[in-house]
């Protein structure tokens, strides 16, 4: 059996939403280089809807695929739905991750939550 599902490999080979959003409404970075994974998620939010999501990732294939899938799952969704995204949903959408790679999907969930916190923080500052 291959290490990764076809879905993981497909998202690793052709990651969606790679890049940076200038003047993003929310940015979340999690992980650290010491552990070998860093994920940074950028969100563009209008009227409570995630208009755009992009990511940069330093990490293994499953970290890249998890970022790609997570950004796909929240694009076009209301903020409330995005903040409810779980690592389990990311892993399931990728047809599963090997046990020692589940933390990659956790990072994706955390990066999105952090980007949304950043967004709310900016909102309250703006008020």
């Amino acid at each position: 059996m291959a290490l990764y599902s076809e879905k993981v490999m497909e998202h690793f080979r052709h990651p969606r939403n790679v890049g940076v959003i200038e003047n993003a409404d929310g940015i979340g970075e999690v992980g650290n280089a010491k552990c070998g994974d860093i994920m940074k998620i950028y969100l563009k939010i209008e009227d409570g809807i995630i208009e755009d999501a992009k990511f940069e990732t330093f990490g293994c294939a499953s970290a890249i695929a998890s970022s790609s899938m997570a950004t796909e799952l929240i694009k076009g969704k209301p903020v409330s739905e995005a903040s409810a995204l779980t690592n389990k949903a990311v892993a399931e959408a990728l047809d599963g991750l090997p046990a020692h790679k589940v933390h990659c999907s956790v990072l994706a969930e955390e990066a999105i939550k952090k980007a949304l916190q950043d967004y709310y923080g900016k909102l309250s500052e703006g008020v």
């Binding site: 490999m9 690793f12 080979r13 990651p15 790679v18 890049g19 940076v20 970075e29 280089a33 010491k34 552990c35 070998g36 994974d37 860093i38 994920m39 940074k40 990511f55 940069e56 990732t57 330093f58 990490g59 293994c60 294939a61 970290a63 890249i64 020692h100 790679k101």
Partner: protein, 396 residues
């Protein structure tokens, strides 16, 4: 298309080795312990293989024990020396921080049993100095075990000098020569080696077979009990086909060490030259005192597993010391031992060559690695922070 550059992991069997095995998988099937003619036919083959392997190492056949591979040989050598030491009240062992886990994990087990282990640090060039060994030896030291050549960064250790010190100080000296056998000239007598481990599949022989050389006078303990095979030091019916394959492969490899080294080191140096053009990259281990076929680099700002998988998509089989490939949270202990920090060690790539590789393959590989590194850096937040000046480069 496949370009196989993971020969430190395992090698393709040579035709000679396959051919040497075939009769023993087919017509010569006797058990060497049987007294009848079929058994004696196998026993003769076994003796013959043992003598040929011994000749490649510069020792008599009776100093060779067949094992299931390098790991078993390492385990047996270390545990035997430890038990013999303990009988004399000597429970201190010296090794290096960048040994193979077959050595390190065996020593961990002994530590739990009350042995004390000194891990010698390794210089950034990946070489341990004989003086370090000399300084670390104590009254109660029963064993020094230092690998012949490192499996990740390929650096070759001053084995003869270390062996000489151990001989002078009356300490048993073992070397894990799994990466060296068949690739470098070995003469256990001339190099003051008391015990040496080797594994056939690293020199185009079959998997699941190895050998332990133990000088006459070294007391060996059996890890596997149950029969008189291997002079009672390793029970179990001998794996004759694999042993015949190993003998043929080692003979063939040892017969062309210089020729292979010339060819491989020329390819290696081309590969090193090409990969050095990648900005913020660094060669791991000394550029010259290394195995002729070993190349190991770190690339800043990327992670090794994703690099491996991209290269695999381009037909290149390689290896990495990143945490993701080791299955643990830490990157390679070898890279950490030579002073690479975690951030850098995660972005490592090992390419290990064989005689079958060509200049075209090397040129293609250099291009493929450059593209893959650039692509991964393009999506790496670490790389962005580095080039924007937010973070300082570790590799200048």
């Amino acid at each position: 298309m496949r370009i196989y550059l993971d020969n430190a992991a395992t090698t393709k069997m040579s035709r000679t080795a396959v051919d040497a095995m075939l009769p023993y998988l087919d017509t010569v099937y006797g058990n060497p312990s049987s007294l009848h003619s079929a058994g004696q036919e196998a026993a003769e083959a076994l003796d013959n293989a043992r003598e040929r392997i011994a000749k490649c190492l510069g020792c008599p056949g009776k100093e060779i024990i067949f094992t299931s591979g390098g790991s078993e040989a390492d385990n047996q050598a270390i545990l035997s020396a430890a038990r013999a030491g303990a009988r004399k009240g000597k429970k201190h062992i010296i090794t290096t921080a960048f040994e193979h886990h077959a050595v390190l994990h065996t020593l961990k087990k002994l530590e739990r049993e009350g042995f004390e282990v000194t891990l010698l640090g390794v210089h950034e060039d990946g070489i341990v100095l004989p003086e370090q060994v000399d300084d670390a030896i104590r009254e109660d030291t029963c064993l020094v075990t230092v690998m012949y050549a490192n499996n990740e960064i390929g650096t070759i250790q001053p084995i003869k000098a270390i062996g000489g010190i151990c001989r002078d100080r009356g300490v048993t000296f073992h070397t894990d020569a799994v990466q060296a056998a068949g690739h470098l000239h070995i003469d256990v007598k001339e190099q003051n080696i008391d015990m040496l481990s080797l594994s056939a599949h690293k020199f185009h022989g079959p998997k699941g077979i190895g050998a332990l050389y133990a000088r006459k006078g070294i007391s060996l303990e059996a890890l596997i009990e149950g029969g008189a095979q291997e002079r009672g030091k390793r029970a179990g019916t001998e794996n004759i086909p694999a042993i015949m394959g190993m003998a043929a492969a080692l003979e063939e490899a040892c017969g062309s060490i210089d020729e292979n080294a010339r060819k491989l080191s020329a390819l290696r140096d081309k590969l090193i030259e090409g990969l050095s053009e990648i900005p913020h990259s660094i060669l791991n281990g000394d550029a010259f005192r290394r195995l002729p076929g070993n190349v190991n680099f770190c690339f800043e700002g990327i992670e090794g597993e994703s690099l491996l998988l991209l290269l695999d998509d381009k037909g290149i089989c390689a290896s990495s010391g990143s945490a993701c490939t080791s299955g643990s949270l830490d990157p390679s202990h070898v890279l950490l031992a030579i002073g690479r920090v975690h951030d850098i060690a995660h972005g490592s790539l090992r390419l290990t060559l064989s005689e079958e590789n060509t200049e075209e393959e090397i040129a293609y590989t250099v291009r493929a690695v450059k593209e893959a590194v650039e692509y991964l850096r393009g999506m790496s937040p670490v790389w962005r922070a580095l080039i924007s000046g937010e973070q300082e480069f570790i590799i200048k």
